[in-house]
């Protein structure tokens, strides 16, 4: 089936070459980082995790696109998702691939990364995160590939696929929970030390992942013969609407606890992110952009009238995606480090090499996604089932 990735339209190859080019720049810059050290990034002894770890944290959410389709389709037999469930699974594959690459480039001694498995340490959440992420990657590759292969042959998937699909549901919950636990169990980091961290991760993942999926599905529809159908998109839109509402609600809960309790440590990171501390306010414009986009997205997603218009829905999904990218892919991780343990502020901003490496990884992720979607679409075009009946 993989041979399908080698045949494609001119547009497909143009995209592949562009993505390969950006990935190449990223790889080249990474070699420079490998040689000179993580000092080429904007990170510091105070803000010791930066863009890489925050992108990883955000992208774990992208993987949620799969489970949000798998649950209705396989548990509730919502047949309308039959065409797009694989798009979710392959998006999960691409997302988790990027997650692992982001963790990899953040390591000071990447050649020793196997130590995580050579000396398994169950008391470390990072050990569990590495375990659940690699497990989820394998699950989605196997499930996606097996179901597509069966579709190609005109049969139903092998009997061993079903148990794996059921396993993938709690497994998906675990990747968000465990990633949240990386942060939620650290003493002295008040911004992260919150019991609803895992719940927030799930809510943001269940809105951001499906929002990205809608955007991608409509791109696929525009440029190929594949049509995921109108109703499935609407159903995913509803999921985004509910999950984004819950996500915003959870953030407001954090704001209440911090400011009503009036405990300085709980308020400081919020103050840094939204008004700045002692003139340090690099992230303030970004964070307000996130707030405004979140408000706009809810305004467009909640009334069904707006959401039913596909153009408005796509616009809303873009606002959800950007809002969450800022909130989780930037503010959440950086904000947790500021102010530092001495009550002083060291700011963080990604450097150019760091940004190039980050773009390179996103590009590799999209390359994986493009190839997997190309295979899917080609298989269906051949079968004449590229168009959804819904």
């Amino acid at each position: 089936m993989l041979d399908k990735a080698l045949t494609g339209s001119k547009k497909y190859w143009t995209l592949v070459i562009i993505l390969l080019g950006i990935s190449g720049v990223g790889v080249f810059t990474y070699l420079h980082q490998l040689k000179t050290g993580l000092g080429i990034t904007g990170m510091s002894r105070d803000v010791s995790w930066g863009f890489y770890i925050s992108q990883f944290t955000f992208l774990v959410g992208g993987a949620a696109s799969a489970v949000m389709l798998v649950i209705p389709y396989y548990l509730h037999h919502y047949k309308k998702f039959s065409k797009i469930v694989i798009l979710g699974e392959f998006l999960a594959v691409a997302s988790v691939t990027m997650c692992m690459l982001f963790i990899f480039v953040d390591m000071g001694q990447p050649m020793r990364i196997a130590n995580v498995f050579l000396y398994p340490t169950p008391n470390s959440i990072l050990f569990w995160d590495a375990t659940v992420l690699s497990g989820y990657l394998v699950l989605n590759i196997v499930i996606g590939w097996a179901t597509l292969h069966a579709e190609k042959k005109g049969t139903s998937p092998a009997s061993w696929v079903k148990p794996l699909i059921y396993l993938s549901i709690p497994w998906a919950i675990s990747i968000h929970t465990v990633t949240a636990f990386l942060y939620a169990g650290l003493p002295g980091r008040h911004f992260w030390l919150t019991a609803i961290m895992a719940a927030r991760f799930l809510a943001s993942a269940f809105s951001g992942g499906p929002a990205l999926l809608i955007i991608l599905a409509l791109i696929v529809r525009k440029y190929t013969k594949f049509d995921p159908g109108k109703e499935p998109i609407q159903a995913v839109g509803k999921i985004v609407a509910y999950a984004m509402s819950v996500n915003v609600f959870f953030i407001l809960l954090e704001v209440f606890t911090a400011f009503y309790s009036n405990i300085p440590g709980h308020m400081h990171s919020f103050e840094y992110l939204f008004v700045g501390i002692e003139g340090h306010s690099k992230l303030v414009p970004l964070m307000w952009t996130s707030v405004i986009l979140a408000a706009v997205s809810l305004f467009l997603l909640i009334p069904p009238g707006f959401r039913k218009n596909e153009s408005i829905l796509v616009f809303a999904c873009i606002t959800v995606f950007i809002s969450l990218w800022i909130d989780k892919g930037f503010g959440l991780v950086i904000g947790g480090f500021i102010p530092n343990h001495f009550g002083t502020v060291t700011e963080y901003w990604p450097t150019i090499p760091e940004t190039l490496i980050t773009l390179g990884i996103w590009s590799i992720g999209f390359l994986v996604l493009t190839i997997l979607y190309q295979v899917t679409v080609s298989v269906r075009e051949e079968l004449g089932t590229a168009k959804s009946e819904y």
Partner: protein, 263 residues
């Protein structure tokens, strides 16, 4: 005291078990007792600790001597960019060192006083709990040790340490070492390091370098021996530890007051 590789590995396994035990302790001991931390103290035969008598540190030189003693023998690089700094022992104000224990009415001279800061060698170290490779581990004598050859440089320990005691080698440290001490290994780029309570000196029967150079301001000994000098000071002086509410149980104590701190 000598720890070979085999013991290292055994030890690191024991740390994991220890963590499990301490978690159940919380449930078996009285709630109030557990939350106040009193029931969580180590019962090991040896728990190495340090008492820092702030009143005995008077001139800038008193501080610099301590820092130099440590940094010179351990090949700690001098890096000007504060973002990339590596430090095992350094100083800061009371406000920054004890941010949860300040009020607006402390004497001005006291607020200007510098406090030596270093790894607290906590009894419940968050850095050990989060390390994914057991590169950092707790020895039976309480020292939090770091295996520089196993560290993958993930910096989870830096996120977890509430005292900012851990330094990452953002750049190659070797060109920044003023005078190389060939007796002690320099670190490579991409690993995390910190104070080790001079385990290499302890093995030779010597005190930590900072203690030795402090003219008695820093005292080192076994916290679990009631007759030790550290215990005698703790029994007779008011002391503070950094961020006690976090339950990490630091092994570094600060004697506040009792002497003229305005120096």
């Amino acid at each position: 005291m000598k720890i070979d590789r085999r013991k290292f590995l055994k030890l690191t396994g024991a740390t994991g078990i220890g963590l499990g035990l301490s978690a159940t302790d919380i449930f078996t001991k009285g709630t109030v007792e557990a939350s106040s931390g009193h029931s969580r103290v180590s019962t090991a035969a040896t728990r190495l600790a340090m008492v820092i008598n702030i009143g005995k540190l008077k001139t800038d030189d008193d501080y610099q001597r301590i820092i130099d003693a440590c940094h010179s023998i351990h090949n700690v690089p001098t890096i000007d960019n504060p973002k990339h700094e590596v430090k095992w022992i350094w100083t800061d104000t009371y406000k920054h060192s004890f941010p949860e224990q300040i009020n607006e009415y402390h004497p001005e001279a006291f607020m200007k006083k510098r406090f030596p800061l270093l790894c607290n060698h906590c009894d419940h170290p968050p850095c050990v709990r989060v390390c994914p490779t057991k590169a950092t581990f707790k020895r039976p004598d309480g020292i939090i040790q770091q295996d520089m050859h196993r560290c993958i440089g993930c910096r989870f320990c830096m996120a977890a340490c509430p005292y900012g005691s851990r330094s990452f080698n953002w750049i190659d440290p070797r060109p920044h070492i003023k005078e190389k001490n060939t007796e002690y290994p320099p670190r490579t780029m991409g690993v995390v390091e910190k104070c080790t309570f001079c385990n290499e000196r302890l093995e030779r029967g010597e005190e930590p370098a900072c203690v030795e150079s402090s003219n008695g301001a820093l005292v080192f000994g076994n916290l679990n021996d009631p007759e030790s000098e550290v215990r005698k000071i703790l029994n007779t002086h008011f002391t503070l530890r950094r961020k006690p509410s976090l339950g990490t149980m630091p092994s570094v104590f600060y004697v506040i007051g009792g002497e003229d701190y305005a120096g």
